[in-house]
């Protein structure tokens, strides 16, 4: 059984179809990439899986669980973590606190226990230690106490990565993690993703425009255009697929 199964998903905004009958699946442990020109619907799909958008038709299951039946805040708890294309950090919190927020679904404590403080002390220590581990792993430990505001874009992307990892996901969805990075940094990020995936035992779904990174990393590539899947396969298969070349280069087939 696949870990993430997308079946005939459609999302329509007025007359525009952002997603139209999209189906594909990812197996546990796979590193898959979702590529396609801008506007193909890649981020829309992420938003459907994290329940920010409602799907008008189709089904999305994660490890057999029907995601579309759940509210957005339950998704992290099931083990789906993500980053955002245009960053969704909390500027009012420090880097460390942002990462701890990522572990929200892995922690407990409500208003009462928080106000009384002592029932929470051990939990707080555990959360801080865990978040520091993740920050260290991503080379961000020095920034832990800094506010997020004012840090460079690439660093902020990495903090989002750390936040997603703090939620102990099984499936990690990365939305253009390499955007805004230099060539050297892109290679580094590729290695990092590969290592993290092994260390944390992750299934990864990657949206990315850096083709060299996608080709080097992925075991499976799904190509989208105008809300639908136009190809699916190994990097080698995708490279020679005429439909893909046409979508990217606009060449007639």
């Amino acid at each position: 059984m696949p870990l993430l199964d997308i079946q005939s998903v459609g999302v329509h905004f007025g007359g525009v179809s952002a997603l139209d009958g999209l189906s594909f699946s990812i197996d546990e442990g796979q590193l898959a990439a979702l590529i396609g020109p801008n506007g193909a619907g890649k981020t829309t799909l992420f938003n459907v899986v994290s329940r920010i958008y409602d799907a008008d038709e189709g089904s999305v299951t994660f490890d057999g669980e029907d995601l579309l039946a759940l509210p957005a805040y339950r998704i992290a708890e099931l083990g789906v973590g993500r980053t955002f294309q245009n960053l969704a950090l909390v500027p009012g919190l420090s880097v460390l606190e942002n990462v701890i927020v990522g572990a929200h679904s892995r922690s407990t404590g409500g208003f009462w226990t928080a106000a009384l403080r002592f029932p929470q002390l051990a939990e707080e220590r555990r959360l801080v230690a865990r978040a520091m581990e993740v920050l260290e792993r991503l080379g961000l430990a020095d920034l832990a106490q800094r506010p997020c505001a004012g840090l460079p874009f690439g660093t902020l992307k990495r903090i989002e990565f750390a936040r997603a990892l703090a939620g102990e996901p099984r499936l990690l969805m990365l939305d253009e993690p390499a955007s805004g990075l230099t060539h050297g940094e892109v290679d580094e990020l590729g290695d990092l993703i590969r290592q993290i995936r092994t260390e944390f035992d992750l299934t990864v779904l990657l949206v990315e425009h850096h083709m060299s990174m996608v080709m080097a990393l992925s075991e499976k590539i799904v190509v989208m255009d105008l809300g639908s899947k136009i190809a699916e396969g190994s990097p080698a298969e995708i490279r020679d697929n005429p439909a893909v070349i046409s979508a990217y280069l606009g060449a007639s087939t």
Partner: protein, 358 residues
């Protein structure tokens, strides 16, 4: 962020403030002590509002009404039941929690200015409601605080609420002052614990980026609603304190007009939104201004106090938009980074308000 305040300053400053707070009622006459008590009530109510507006980003212009609800609830309970007096404040808080949740329900659909408008309606409605239920509230005449007790028929003005100190040597006003101080300290400690916890982080996350909050697993709707309730409950505690402790044997609807809602907001902003101690500083500034400086102004400025307060507020927004405590923290952070010779802590104003991190 860890606080940059050195430990000796922290403990020394804390001890100094404690000494001043304890010495105050012995240094001033009863009427001044009663004013101090009122300032504490405002500080507590503002702390409740700060939780909602400062930390959670839900603007309420209606907390004066919740403050009033707390006051009336405590006053009515004291007058008509034999519930112990301090317990009436707890019950008032529970009632305000429920009212806060009810008022907060629209906040699930609307935000920002639209939410402010809904809460504004609550503030405007409150005095009318007091009038409507005048058999319970005393209407425009106010509600006299009398205690049902033996040998004294219920609801008769001969038996006003009294706060006799159980210890010798303390005047009534001094005893009330210390009761109010104790409640205030407890309220601020609870809020301080709350904001630096998992819940506090959720509040800020929802304020700054609700989509990020939701995908991190925070139940945004539930948290917003409960925050509204808790915020209202704290405001209600402030109101209950005002009704029972400030020395005035009568609760008047004029104490809970729309203007009071706005003053609470002013106290939060002036002191420093999203800082723990900000609302207390804001309440102090407001109190000093209206009760100490205001009456000293020459006669022709008598009615000008709100105008002067307004002008000062505008100046502050230009000079120190993060409030007094926020500004203080900023200066401290700058000095700390200069001392360590490191790169300055960049804070380019992406946050609407700086968050307190004790």
């Amino acid at each position: 962020m860890r606080s940059t305040t050195p430990n000796w300053l922290r403990w020394g400053g804390g001890a100094l403030i404690a000494v001043v707070l304890i010495a105050l009622p012995f240094q001033f006459e009863a009427f001044r002590v009663n004013q101090f008590i009122t300032w504490m009530c405002i500080a507590v109510a503002a702390a409740g509002l700060n939780l909602l507006t400062g930390y959670n980003g839900q603007i309420s212009v209606g907390h004066g009404a919740l403050y009033g609800l707390g006051a009336y609830a405590a006053a009515i309970l004291v007058t008509r039941t034999t519930v112990p007096m301090l317990l009436t404040i707890v019950i008032a808080a529970v009632i305000c929690f429920v009212a806060g949740v009810a008022i907060g329900l629209p906040a699930l659909r609307i935000k920002g200015l639209y939410l402010a408008l809904v809460t504004l309606a609550v503030a405007v409605l409150f005095p009318a409601l007091v009038e409507q239920f005048s058999s319970l509230t005393g209407g425009g005449r106010g509600l006299a605080l009398v205690v049902p007790q033996e040998g004294c028929p219920r609801g008769r003005p001969e038996c006003p609420v009294r706060w006799e100190s159980p210890f010798g040597g303390l005047e009534n006003d001094q005893w009330r002052y210390f009761l109010a101080l104790a409640i205030t300290v407890v309220a601020f400690v609870l809020v301080a614990n709350l904001v630096k916890s998992r819940v506090g982080r959720s509040l800020v996350a929802i304020r700054d980026n609700d989509i990020a909050a939701e995908s991190s697993g925070i139940n945004v709707s539930r948290t917003k609603i409960i925050t509204f309730g808790v915020s209202a409950a704290i405001a209600g505690v402030g109101g209950g304190m005002l009704a029972l402790l400030n020395g005035n044997p009568r609760v008047n609807p004029t104490s809970f007009t729309l203007l009071v809602s706005i003053y609470l907001l002013v106290a939060v902003v002036v002191g420093g939104a999203s800082t723990v101690i900000g609302p207390a500083i804001g309440a102090l500034v407001y109190g000093v201004f209206t009760d100490v400086i205001g009456p000293e102004l020459p006669g022709r400025f008598e009615n000008a106090t709100p105008v002067i307060l307004g002008v000062l507020l505008i100046i502050q927004m230009l000079v120190a938009p993060n409030g007094i405590v926020g500004q203080f923290k900023e200066i401290q952070a700058k000095m700390a980074s200069r001392r360590s010779g490191g790169a300055p802590e960049v804070h380019n104003g992406a946050t609407p308000v700086e968050r307190d991190t004790p």
